[in-house]
């Protein structure tokens, strides 16, 4: 009797431990408008969710919390199309699901640039019908013609992020102007960086004057040596909620993404944001329609709706990423302008996108990163 109780308790314990494993990676939020899509990455499995075009459902597949709920509600009200919002946590999960569905199941996907390149190469996206997207010309041309879709046939950008350095001037004596400053000894054990190795090794490549996307192993080796020297300054490596550690004073300097910069600045306006003088690397999130989308018409209508200046402005203020809709720039409120609209002095040639690199170079980068993290822990 006692024994079986102990067994039961021990089992419950195992379960709680495993539950921790599952949720450790992302704190996923429930779907925005659709209670039907709860189960975090619920597939559109039920009859209703799989409904064909005639039923007027848009199966929208993207990360959690990408849209202001009112923006989504506005679309539903105007068109009568029901939005079935389905979440994924990683781009990779999305690609695997889309492969399994052979480009079907979903009507509109929003994901990162590099994965879209693979999606298009695998024939899982369909060409957009520009006739149906009257607001297409609102897109800021800076974000067009990029590597993942050179002729803009498949995608419409939805927000862009850069990696900037943010620091607390109250705790840092030195003025930071670029990545190279982070190597300064005064930053010992006080910098937070993102956990994306392409971004971080890219930072060392930029300091050396190389491209983010180099396939040259010698250049990568040089970047490796430089990275290893940065290790004593690193206090923290993580992707989510880095801004909290900067705000609380756990670190005094952080390299982070645009959405985090927005939150950090709004919470603590005294923080200083630096566009590194070495140039900035950025990423674009793109909307595309899968090749076998059940309701491509609804997807086109949604893209067109989002591209309206007033809808865009509202969406980017909610999202906290750079506005990729030129026509919306003027509508973004002053409070947000600084973070959501590219600075006037911004020059397109200073930016470089992070693209897919050769398997050999990617492996080299992964090895460098593992070694770097090990050094950080010593």
């Amino acid at each position: 009797m006692k024994k079986s109780l102990a067994l039961l308790l021990a089992l419950a314990l195992c379960v709680s431990l495993l539950a921790g494993c599952g949720s450790a990676k992302t704190a996923e939020q429930p779907s925005v408008t659709q209670p039907a899509a709860e189960g975090n990455e619920a597939e559109p499995a039920t009859e209703e969710q799989k409904a064909p075009a005639a039923a007027g459902t848009l199966n929208l597949y993207t990360w959690a919390d990408m849209f202001d709920p009112e923006v989504l509600a506005g679309f539903e009200e105007e068109t009568g199309i029901r939005i079935n919002y389905v979440n994924f946590d990683y781009d990779e999960t999305m690609l695997a699901k889309l492969e399994a569905a052979k480009g079907g199941d979903y009507d509109l996907v929003i994901a990162d640039d590099y994965i879209i390149e693979t999606v298009i190469a695998e024939g899982l996206a369909q060409k957009l019908d520009r006739e149906k997207i009257s607001n297409f010309s609102n897109i800021n041309p800076i974000y067009q013609g990029q590597f993942y879709d050179p002729t803009d046939e498949y995608t419409v950008p939805y927000g862009s992020g850069v990696q900037t350095i943010v620091y607390d001037p109250a705790l840092v004596d030195k003025e930071i102007t670029g990545y190279a400053d982070l190597w300064d000894e005064s930053f010992a054990d006080s910098i937070a960086i993102t956990a994306n190795y392409r971004v971080m090794i890219g930072m060392a490549l930029k300091v050396l004057g190389y491209s983010y996307n180099t396939n040259n192993l010698d250049e990568l080796q040089e970047a490796a040596e430089l990275m290893y020297k940065l290790a004593p300054n690193i206090r923290l490596i993580k992707d989510d909620f880095v801004q909290d550690d900067l705000i609380s004073g756990e670190v005094n300097t952080a390299v982070m993404y645009t959405s985090q910069v927005t939150i950090a600045k709004i919470t603590k306006p005294s923080l200083a944001v630096v566009y590194p003088k070495e140039g900035i690397g950025f990423g674009i999130m793109g909307m595309f329609i899968p090749s076998q989308a059940p309701n491509a018409d609804a997807a086109h209508a949604f893209i067109d709706y989002i591209l309206r200046p007033e809808v865009s402005a509202r969406s980017y203020e909610y999202l906290g990423y750079y506005c990729t809709n030129q026509a919306a720039d003027a509508l973004i409120s002053d409070e947000y302008k600084e973070f959501l609209v590219l600075p006037a002095e911004f020059r397109a040639e200073d930016m470089e996108m992070i693209e897919n690199i050769s398997a050999e170079a990617a492996e080299k980068q992964a090895d460098i990163w593992a070694q770097f993290k090990t050094l950080c822990g010593q």
């Binding site: 006692k2 690193i234 756990e250």
Partner: protein
Amino acid sequence: MQGKRRSRGNAAILAPMYLFTVIFLIGPFVYMIVLSFLTRAETWGIVNTFTLRNYQKLLEPVYLHSFGESIRLAVYVTALVVLIGYPFGYFMAKLPPKARGGLLLVVMVPFYTSSLMRLYGWIIIFRANGLFDRLLMVLHLTDAPLKLLYTYPAVVVGMVYALLPFMMLSVYSSVEKMDWQLVEAARDMGAPPAKAFLTITLPLSLPGLMTGVTLTFVPSMGLFFVADILGGNKIVLIGNVIQEQLMKVHDWPFAAALSVILMLMMSLTVWLYRRVTGVSEMEGFV
């Protein structure tokens, strides 16, 4: 004759179980082993070409190091869990039944909340100007915030905290059913308490202790999220490497090879457990 018929009846009843095991346990395991001998594709997916590269790559110092790091951390954590968990389980079993039930509940209740949530609790304690920092400053032991979070000790504390109940419960269940008359006999024969403990109690509670050790050691090699959250991602355990290879580098075959080796290491631990205790079942689990 009769035995044979019975076993055939058993087989029919157990068929769904076997099927389940094959589909959900053996199937994926075989798939993982096969995958570990295949080649990765340029950016995404795999190519069906046999290679030993994935196992050769394991021998690179940086990956060997992460195995070493995982074992080192597991050893520290297990040692601390034994030191704290064994006495706790032992004394819990000696309490009167009523108090015992209450204490058991106290040990278990926190585990009905997500372990992730509880780890964030440790962040609040450890962070700059957090509870622990302020306590030290109030006691005038320190006069400035310490950097406690994102350090090795923080990871060890988090791991010990997460795994301690496994030790408490298995020692408890072992000691609780022990025949105390044996100890009394030893004392009657003139053995001092320490000797009675070492010659009677300890050997009799050894299965529980070893179960606790196994249940601590094996998971602590895989609980990478503790190292992520409390260690600031700077302690590279084998679980972290697998996750990164899978999700970010897209090198599935290498991730599979790492997993195969990790599973072998865990199996070895369980085999050792059986050799040491001479029992084939986990104490407190059957």
